[in-house]
Amino acid sequence: MTVEIPKRIDQLPNPEPRYIGKRVTRREDAALLTGRVEFIDDVALPRMLHAAILRSPFAHARIRSIDTSEAEAMPGVEAVVTGADALRWQRVSGSSPDGWGGRCPAVEKVTFVGEPVAAVAATSRYLAEDALERIEVDYEPLEPVVDPFAAMEEGSPLVMEANGTNVMMHRVFTWGEVDEAFDTAAHVFTERFRWNRVGANPMETFGTVCEWDPVTLEMTVRGAIQSASFMGLGRAATFGLPTNLVNVKANAHGGSFGGKGGGRGIDIAAMLSRKAGGRPVKWIEDRVEYLTSGGSQAWDRHYEAALAVDADGRMTGFRVTLVDDLGANGEGYGSISAAKPLTAFTGPYTIPAAGYDLALVATNKLPSGPYRGMGPPPHFMVLEQLVDIAARALGVDPAELRRRNFIPPEAFPYTIPSGNEYDSGSYEEVLDAALALAGYDDLLRWRDAARADGRLVGVGVATAVEPGVFDWNAYATVGLPQTGVPEGATVSFDIRGCATVRVGFAMEGQGQYTLVSQVVADYFALDIDSVRVIQLDTLAAPPSFGPGGSRLGVAITGAVLGACERLAEKMRTVVAGLMQTTPETIELRGGRFGIPGVPEAQMSLAQVAGTMLARSDLLPPGMDPLPEATYVWTAPDRTPADEMGRAKSYLTAAQAVHVVAVEIDPDTGQVEIVKYALADDCGTRLNPVVVEGQTDGGIAQGIGAALYEQYVYDDEGQPLTASFMDYLIPTIAEVPRSDKAAVVTPSPFTALGAKGCGEGAIHTTPAAVMCAINDALAPLGVRARETPATPERLWRLISGAGVGASGSTGEEREQS
């Protein structure tokens, strides 16, 4: 049976939907607000032990020996693990580029500060930490390499000697006639950019409770896990277990943003459990561990990029050379952050040719991992600043130059040179909405007047495309399997007509349980309170990946609607049998099944479900009596990558324009955001409150990346940002209020026309803020090309006290 999933709200079998598209308050909230939700650190199991991890103080050192005997003898200590156990039970991590990756705890040598070396399970965390002090590790310090350019040089210390190089991957992608575009361009603008390491920092760090039975080898993993099934597959691969021996029960968790990490914490807790006879072992990462050695760090990038522009301001080519410092051994999928820009390489523009020279380099720093946006936010910071450089050089208004190069609405679906297909868009309309909301002309007048008074004020307009609905096809370029990503749901009715939906992902903050309830309630015309959403363990749940890559809203809506369609079809068959007619004559409308126009031939959901459950003898012969159905959704019509990495991968393309006005204090270099307005188009807004919340959160993280946040290492590879005193997360004082306008261009490809929208703002905010800062600095003839644009960096630029590393690292130059 083919399932037609409604692509528009008005295709639902309900003339009066009450929830979808409306501002629905979240059903998750009451439990969260009263402290009732069980986060992982709230879990207490009988005989549970607590783990603590001993970590390397060196960025690069050989481990000569480890003596754990004193720790093991301490009362209350039940198990200790070291690299010897990892060598016995683990395979090398599969989350690194081929030939890279290691085991955990470290075997033979450590390659970054904070790398686990040993771990203890004891009857309390306090005791476990006491025991760490009794473990003796004899290290032979080795010379570290911290700078990726030094790491690429002949004779550099090697992070993994066996590989003979620190370059994990170097690939050159060419899409279209890029050389010709640059050779024939009227103008070429070239610049270098530096994006320093930032990262997710959810307010809850990672944590887990693991049981690994030494007899049955069954492993049960609880934890603050973003993707339960994926984590389970990873653990099974790491330990060489059949996948059905690993059961993951993800807890509701305190944010993730891709950077929850956790695989290694689970590995350690699991091995400790196995050594302790299968007792549950809890490991809760503390914030210092998260900041220095967790899933915290992403995008440590050195860019050189160029834009070719013809005489009338049309962009004809875009080239990017990226040296991406992935840190030690490349574990944790940092590589896919470098590949994701392929899915939106040329942004919202009709640039016909592009090139990407990509080097992934190992250094003695924490392996970099995923973070919200997964790579494009720095990429758009680069592209958008080049557009501004061009606009300034050509004397064209930056908004106008963007408008001239937008993909027009009639060109969708539109395939970009790097291969991905954008589903739909109304880019000019979004631009106009943002400019109107910002009062762009007034802002420019304000800027010019203030500038005339000698103030450093600037206005930035930036735009970006948010690839939505993550799909592995884009990542074949960095060696990952080319597959789709499933999401499933099971919808069932009980004998009273109440609906239960079973899903495989935990609450994380994006309101997906509310979304599921909205969809089921509107499909069957139920009150939202008669829908309940429950989460199952990975071995019981329908296939699920969960949140990630702006996918879950679209994917779970597709899954739930697919299940609703199937269930309705099943119930129609039952009703047709009871009414002695054919299923096609039975209609579901407003929550009742029946023959249209015949009021006495109607049945309620409860009547149909009740008949199925209690009188299966009345059903058509051979019919499954369960009033339930499951549907597993994957993005339709995706393609594997070709030799240039071109794939139809991410299903949706949302777009936004942000307008920012800033003032820089010339004496301190401090940036104040004086105006923030944006318009965005993420298709149908299934719950506008939640969409706006995602935007607000992304703006705050984008402001953090643009102005405050940076993981700093010294020359020896020591992390200098080990607390929230050093790694500066924006507070309410740093995040301005923003005005928002919505444009709605539904996706033609998805359930109800929704697009992925969880990562949009962080794609655009850093670019917009940096464009505004550079507009403010333009009269001084200096340029900020490094994020975060901290007061010190800007003050140095402004005062002319020094450029070098923190200033304009490459003169903006034009060749014609």
Binding site: T25, R26, E28, D29, A30, L32, L33, T34, G35, R36, E38, F39, D41, A44, M48, H50, G76, T123, S124, R125, Y126, L127, A200, N201, P202, M203, E204, T205, A252, H253, G254, G255, F257, D286, R287, V288, E508, G509, Q510, V689, V690, E692, G693, T695, D696, G697, G698, I699, A700, Q701, S723, F724, M725, I729, T731, I732, A733, V735, R737, S738
Partner: protein, 196 residues
């Protein structure tokens, strides 16, 4: 390792007399020993405010305070906000209505900080609000929903003290017991079931 110092505290109106190890932080005591896991730990170094609870009416970071320092105090945690029949407190309602939370991990801290602020001053001005909320970190919301929620809570309370919402005897209410005289969990029983 049952604790070697006895302390008497009242938490959300319930009196406890229990032994704790002197090095136990207040947040660990509340979470592990008393099982009040609504208070969260985000940084354990005093910056994020997730662990904020009220000690004798003052908002404190329970990760920076030792349980023994709270001896003799009245403590209110997020579990103490709801009404006797499970009604949400108006501050909680306001966060729900204004999408003042996403993951909800930081939320108990924001609720307690807001509660203290509105106890001190039911009509705080913009500076006061920014000052108080500026001490709490949220990574999800970008603070916009939280800001609206605080305004909404001010409206809902309409000058009523947060403690007076559910009548006398509510959290920090006038009838809250001064000193604990009962030990509902038994002499040393509070340590049972916890790791220590």
């Amino acid at each position: 390792m049952i604790g070697d110092r006895r302390i008497r505290v009242s938490v959300n109106g319930t009196a406890y007399e229990v032994g704790v190890e002197p090095r136990t932080t207040l947040v660990d005591f509340l979470r592990a020993d008393l099982g009040l896991t609504g208070t969260h730990v985000g940084c354990e170094h005093g910056v994020c405010g997730a662990c904020t609870v009220l000690v004798d009416g003052l908002a404190v970071r329970s990760c920076l305070m030792l349980a023994v320092q709270a001896d003799g105090s009245e403590i209110t945690t997020v579990e103490g906000l709801e009404g006797p029949e499970g009604e949400l407190h108006p501050i909680q309602e306001a966060f729900l209505e204004e999408h003042g939370l996403q993951c909800g991990f930081c939320t108990p801290g924001f609720l307690m900080a807001t509660y203290e602020m509105l106890t001190d001053d039911p009509k705080p001005d913009e500076d006061e609000i920014m000052e108080v909320l500026g001490g709490q970190i949220c990574r999800c919301t970008g603070y916009q929903g939280i800001r609206r929620a605080v305004d909404c809570a001010i409206d809902k309370l309409g000058g009523t003290r947060p403690a007076d919402v559910f009548g006398a005897g509510g959290p920090e209410g006038p009838d809250a017991p001064d000193a604990p005289d009962a030990d509902p969990v038994g002499a040393d029983g509070a340590g049972e079931g916890s790791a220590r």
